[in-house]
Symmetry: none
Subunit: 210 residues, 4 copies
DNA sequence: AATGAATGAGAGTTCATTCAT
DNA sequence: CATGAATGAACTCTCATTCAT
């Protein structure tokens, strides 16, 4: 029991650090974020930081892992669904919702800025894999049902859906007037159009649920 | 006259440094790129580097300025054209072509990674402004001619065209199987579809000229 | 009574730590030995370590004190002997035997490496004093009996006996082929020769008892 | 020419650092010697220190290398000599002279204190090899001429000569009353006796030249 | 104009030590 | 009594930048 409590406590503290680091990385970039600033943000001493993460890089990787895990876990929520296009658009919409947290685009840029580090490249690759694994089955199923275009391979369609969400994130970060909430519906509509060009518009009045 | 020659010589050497720095920034990110590495790549001494650029940051800004200037100058090439959609798709296609230089996506990430520096943010903003200025007149003209959708404001359409090219660049950088050359046509087609949903396909057999 | 038991228990645990620390200091030097490594070796928590010793330095001093105490106590074992040279050679031989424990030369070096700390200098001085006090009476007695050379003062002879044992320890530590067991007899013989140059060899067949 | 001058300048500066580091290592031990203290002693900035030596450890190794080189070079000075025992005693005497520099024993201890580092162990081994190589030919030659005992192998005699000089150094470091100058002659005499027990005393009035 | 030796501010990280449990 | 999470002082080392040549 104590072991369990300790582990939970440990995990909770790790999360505090991860959250603080996410904030600081997003605001200053990877190299601009000093470990001292992360400690200040997390309200801990520098020794404590290195008690939980062996290096500064490990913190970044830890954040990425949390994200990847979330992608994997969220994939389970769609099991049993029968509307592949609906699922795909929900996933796309959800990524738009995540972009609304102003720290997300900043952090994504910070991570991309140190992608030349092999560990970061591997972690981003793993994240992309998780995203592909979440999308691909539904693209395939949609193609089988005739609801998704078949002039492109499923893998390519997946890549293009990710292109849309990546570009969306980038625009949100770069353009003050381009807000996640304001452009969300157009993202979903564009994705729908991409998945099934010229297809009938979705259920009228429909707003893709979040 | 001598002044002119000197100036040309000066400019030429600056370009050598800019090119070397572009390579090193792309490969290692902004902070990962040491001035020593840039000097090595440019085959100059460190003293010389700081003779041409006052700080390391100034080199990055210099690269961005060259890019922005290119955007501005390329805009002039379209003057007098009568096919707004064609122009827009050419611009989009050209940005895909640029993504084929493997240094481009790497450099874009490096720059984005230090976007928290106000000077960089300003330079990227200026670049984005130049891109918007290049696109916007043709979107307006297209809307006037009924060749571009009018359910979205011209500014918003411009943003979404940039979203597509940004996302394209990002995918090229992230996914080894996603090549600029292989996906170029689909990018142009997707842009066309976005500009005029359900519109007749362009002149058949047409490949958007580079 | 309980007090006594507690004290014995306390002393026993101290010894466990001292032994563990001896091992770690010998293997990694004073600074190279982290308190964490000592705790691991002693199978205790860091809190416990500092419950028995106030500082890391105190552990080193504790080890040295144990050694010094041993020197003092061993001195008593020779009381009543009538063969001063025999006693001296036994002491020298015994120091060679101690060098056979591979941790001893390593620890001696570790301690010498931090001799610049006044506390360590004092402790080593105290140890040297104990060694001198153990040797000197027998040198004097030997000189009185005509069994030890008198062209050197007793103090100087003592120093040179220590020079031999120190050098022996150092060689054992430095030269893999120079083993304590293999060179022991030559050490004793050299010491005998030094004590009484040209003197008749000791009792024939004699091997200095340990 | 410039190259030669630069190289000479570089070497001279390296020597300044080596000398300063020797002083500081001797006074505070390896770990106790901060790079800041070495810089202060050498009157240079920290950047300069690391311009000449990549790491603190490299400085220590550099000092050891200088010592080893000196041993090798000094060996050449004895070529052509016909009195092996005289040569050996000169070498032994010279090591006693070196011990008169108060920094030498301190530095030797500092180095021994971090012998657990493989690089240091290797450098000390190389130094010992150089010393053995300097001594051994003369021991062999002495044995051939009947001037050195033959009951021990040449290698063993070499080890014991080194034992004497090591022990001498250690005593000088540990005992204030034991000075290099005061004990030098006894060291040489003891070495002579060891090389040829019971041998005739050397040429009368002879003092081993320095 | 071109150089690179010299600089020092500032970074990440280690580890002896404390103290609440 | 025993523990180990938390601490922060202090360390080594990097690197953009300067300036005498």
């Amino acid at each position: 029991m104590a072991r369990t409590v300790d582990q939970a406590r440990h995990e909770a503290r790790r999360l505090v650090i991860v959250d603080a680091a996410l904030t600081v990385f997003a605001a200053r970039g990877y190299d601009g974020a000093t470990t001292a600033a992360i400690c200040r943000q997390a309200r801990i001493g520098s020794g404590t930081l290195f008690h939980y993460f062996p290096t500064k890089l490990a913190i970044l990787l830890g954040i990425l892992e949390y994200g990847t895990r979330e992608v994997r876990e969220s994939a389970a929520a769609y099991e049993g669904r029968e509307d592949p296009v609906g699922v795909l658009l929900e996933i796309v919409g959800r990524s738009a919702d995540e972009a609304a947290d102003p720290r997300v685009p900043g952090f994504v840029r910070a991570a991309a800025g140190v992608m030349h580090l092999p560990e970061v490249a591997a972690a981003l690759e793993a994240d992309a894999d998780a995203q592909r694994a979440r999308l691909r089955p539904w693209v395939e199923r949609g193609q089988e049902l005739g609801e998704v275009r078949t002039d492109l391979t499923d893998a390519r369609i997946v890549s293009w859906l990710m292109l849309l969400t990546d570009g969306f994130l980038e625009r949100v970060a770069a353009e003050p007037g381009f807000t996640a909430a304001g452009e969300r519906d157009l993202l979903v509509a564009t994705a729908r159009e991409f998945l099934h060009p010229g297809g009938r518009p979705a259920r009228r009045g429909g707003r893709v649920s979040r």
